[in-house]
Amino acid sequence: MGISTFRWKTKYGQPNWERISWLYMRLSGLVMFLIVTFHLLYMHMVVRVENLTFQNIVDRWNGPYGLAWKTLDTALLIFGLTHGYNGVRWSIDDYVHHRGWNLVLKMLLYIVGSILMIAGALAIFVGPGSLV
């Protein structure tokens, strides 16, 4: 490092979404504190992971509480993916300062995130075994 390496930032106060993003992380975090902890402890401790077979999922989604389970899973998908990928975006902004790489990584993140969102929604709403 030398004195000349500092790149000046001329102006603070440009419009941005960080305030919304910050608030969203807190609100989604509060929601997920309840639903993810429940999901984790229920699936891992009560049902147990090895019993989560295809048939088990069919029974749950098509059973009497199917709508409730699907709503919970949708909430997990939306909050988990947006909260998680926003966290990854923060990390990229924190550590990758090269403009090109920063942009490439974030574009990749948005593309993968969109694909996962669609894939998750398909799994929940199209119905087990209906995609073939």
């Binding site: 993968v112 998750g120 799994a123 073939v132």
Partner: protein, 128 residues
């Protein structure tokens, strides 16, 4: 890249207090969970592809012995990230509580470990 290595060296060598290590663990667990979540959504997506594909992926990604060991890390990561996230949210909206944050981190870690130990034992029962 050099700057990133320098930053990580600073993070590891700084003798911070509870908040510093909680922040580092929060970030690492968050990135780990995001990675797991991506894998998890793909494996759940395979429900749409029928029982054969799903059951195969389920066996490899969740039931096999290495997966069980990784699951223990996942459970710790989620429990810590959840508890530490709550601490951050509470202090964010009541900044005055910040002066107790060192105690809060210790209590939080204690609660996480108390929930984690039985969960880890239950998870590893089939493997050990």
């Amino acid at each position: 890249m050099g700057a990133l290595v320098e930053t990580l060296r600073y993070v590891i060598s700084y003798r911070g207090t509870e908040g510093h290590w909680a922040w580092l663990l929060h970030r690492l667990s968050g990135l780990g969970i995001a990675l797991f979540l991506s894998m998890h959504i793909i494996s759940i997506f395979s429900v749409g592809l029928g029982p054969r594909v799903y059951n195969f992926l389920h066996e490899v990604l969740y039931v096999s012995a290495p997966a069980k060991v990784l699951e223990v890390f996942l459970i710790f990561g989620v429990l810590f990230h959840a508890a530490n996230g709550m601490r951050i949210i509470v202090i964010d909206f009541f900044p005055g509580l910040g002066k107790y944050q060192r105690t809060i981190v210790r209590i939080e870690l204690l609660v996480v470990i108390l929930v984690f130990i039985p969960a880890a034992i239950i998870t590893l029962q089939g493997v050990l």
